[in-house]
Homo-oligomer: 377 residues x 2
């Protein structure tokens, strides 16, 4: 049995000492989940946290897989969408786990996209001060980003992801077949994060994506290889800086501009989803780097051309419904007025695959750039 | 300045690698808190979490100390008592910290007893996935136990401390003068946890307490020495088993029986407070060990004599208001029916200072013992 999935799945190890864990990426992993979990957490019971959409597509088969492996389970279903990343949903999930009388040695299984993973991971991190956690990401975004590396959290009225814990899973199972049922727009949005790893420090991977993106979208070996490469990239960063005191911030490439755009659209997913915001944000980061004479404008053009080719937005004016002016966008970037008068931290680049953390970007330069990008066009 | 407090305070180091921290124990530390915090967390701002009672006694002087050291602060005041260990109080505290725009590099300061420390520590562990935390315990229980070692948490309807995180402080400041203003009953209750360290693995410390307990109660050098010894004992256990996968459970000596008694009294502090429950529980653990022929009955007698001498309850029939029968008490110990039919984990002892984790105690033996202790008397 071991041999059979060695053939069909890639394995990436996240080396964090006694908290090291394995990410399996491949086809058919949902059907094999019970077996993989039982092999690593023998004797454990499980609470499967999911949302109504994912439950409709995958829960029955998933629970069957657990049952065959002898894992007793209960399911906890969230409302789909970002609103489930709340204190109220956290408390409900925690209560449901406790009601099932699960112990620390039992497992919380996050079956779903980023919202499910963030909330279930947070719950697993706080029930009895930490239970076993298994991430089973079913969206491309979750497979390449949020299920790996231990960031969990919820939103508050004061902002997104302001409350949470760093809490590493014991296992990540990324079934690449699960992506076949995603809406195309959601798959494309997740693909922006795939491109991000190339832009940070993997220029050859970016070039490979330029050649092979169609196969990544259609499924099969190229998709598995792309996701595995993203997981390797993220694992390396997390191993060196688990708690984001330094270079882990590189993973925010495109996110500072992107978050401002998300805030400006009121986080209205009909207008803009996270991955689309990251796509526009990455183009802006490259264009801003070119404006600051840090990188060639040709690189910004190449990034934009690839993202446009796959169907992602690349410019603020492609976001439906109109945007506020540059001053307002800057205020979303620099929420603290003291910061907005001074220097900002951005992920900038010297070119494709050569991103770096710039800690002293003048707010005035950002404002002038935003005026050019948003107002002058 | 460094020299002056080297003279008046003991320092205990908790060696947890890059999360190591210092516990200072001594006289006058509240007045020096700003200076000590600024030396370790330069440039940080602070949110001081406290309760109304502690605020009345200490907050003004504490804030003045922060101010002198250049630390800007806000205060967050909880209702005194265990009810503040709730999801609602956690959310309010988190919101107040975020409203003050504190960042990860700023500090949450827990100024108070165990409830304040547990709640503020949990909040510090989850705001922005972990801010700096400083514990300033003002009760004996908090100084020798709850402020050291990183356990934080809240209660739910399903039980106490079922939700929380392991989160270590950057500094613990235990001002032994603060204990002068405690109600005598609360000091005595905290003293039960002092005795516990002697009973676990420090027989000489227990003998020293038998000789010197009056000075510990009255203040001065013996009190400082006793608290420092407890902190050393706890630090050693936490260093070896931070997340309680093994021997840290030894710190639960007296707590399994004690928790059952607390539950049986409905956590009514007029009848029984935690430290009193631990006192009775430690006597029961020694008597049960004697009954199981693990230890001499003389040791149980010596433990009981010392606790009785300082004014602590030592037997269930000293708890006012009556207790349920043995079957009911056992059900509080073994909440899961499957466990109650089988084996239980207890901290038992081979004699004073020779405690051990017993993982296979027959529930039937516990029941027979409780019948003897509660019903036959």
């Amino acid at each position: 049995m071991q041999a059979s999935h060695e053939r069909s799945a890639r394995s990436v190890r996240v080396g964090l000492g006694d908290r090291a864990y394995e990410i399996l990426i491949g086809s058919g992993l949902l059907a094999r989940a019970g077996e993989e979990i039982a092999a690593r957490l023998p004797g454990s019971r499980a609470a499967v946290v999911t949302d109504e959409n994912v439950a409709a597509a995958h829960l029955q088969a998933f629970e069957a897989s657990l049952g065959v492996a002898g894992i007793e389970s209960v399911s906890i279903r969230l409302e789909p969408g970002e609103r489930s990343k709340s204190f109220a949903a956290l408390q409900e999930t925690v209560d449901a786990i406790l009601a099932a009388r699960l112990e620390r040695r039992d497992a919380v299984v996050a079956l779903g996209g980023g919202v499910v993973g963030d909330l279930a991971g947070f719950a697993a991190g706080v029930v009895r001060r930490g239970m076993n956690l298994v991430q089973v990401p079913t969206s491309l975004l979750a497979q390449v980003d949020s299920s790996v590396g231990g960031k969990t959290g919820i939103n508050t009225e004061r902002g997104k992801n302001l409350v949470g814990v760093f809490y590493q899973p014991k296992l990540v199972l990324a079934d690449t077949d699960a992506l076949d049922t995603l809406p195309p727009r959601e798959f494309r949005a997740g693909y922006a994060e795939v491109v991000k790893y190339g832009l940070i420090d993997r220029p050859h991977f970016f070039a490979w994506l330029e050649e092979n993106w169609r196969e990544v979208f259609s499924g099969g070996a190229a998709r598995i290889e792309a996701i595995a490469e993203c997981c390797r990239a993220k694992a390396e960063v997390v191993e060196r800086d688990e708690h984001e005191t330094g270079e882990r911030a590189l993973l925010n490439l495109g996110h500072t501009f992107g978050h401002a755009l998300e805030a400006a659209t009121g986080y209205d997913s009909a207008r803009l989803v996270h991955g689309e915001a990251v796509a526009v944000g990455m183009v802006l980061a490259h264009r801003f780097s070119a404006r600051m004479n840090l990188a060639s404008p040709d690189d910004a053009g190449r990034v934009e051309a690839h993202l446009r080719e796959v169907g992602l937005p690349t410019r603020p004016d492609q976001i439906p419904g109109g945007l506020p002016g540059a001053e307002k966008l800057l205020s979303y970037i620099a929420q603290d007025k003291k910061v907005s008068r001074g220097a900002l931290t951005f992920i900038l680049t010297h070119g494709i695959g050569r991103s770096f953390i710039a800690r002293d970007v003048p707010a005035s330069e950002v404002l002038a750039f935003l005026q050019q990008e948003v107002e002058a066009r």
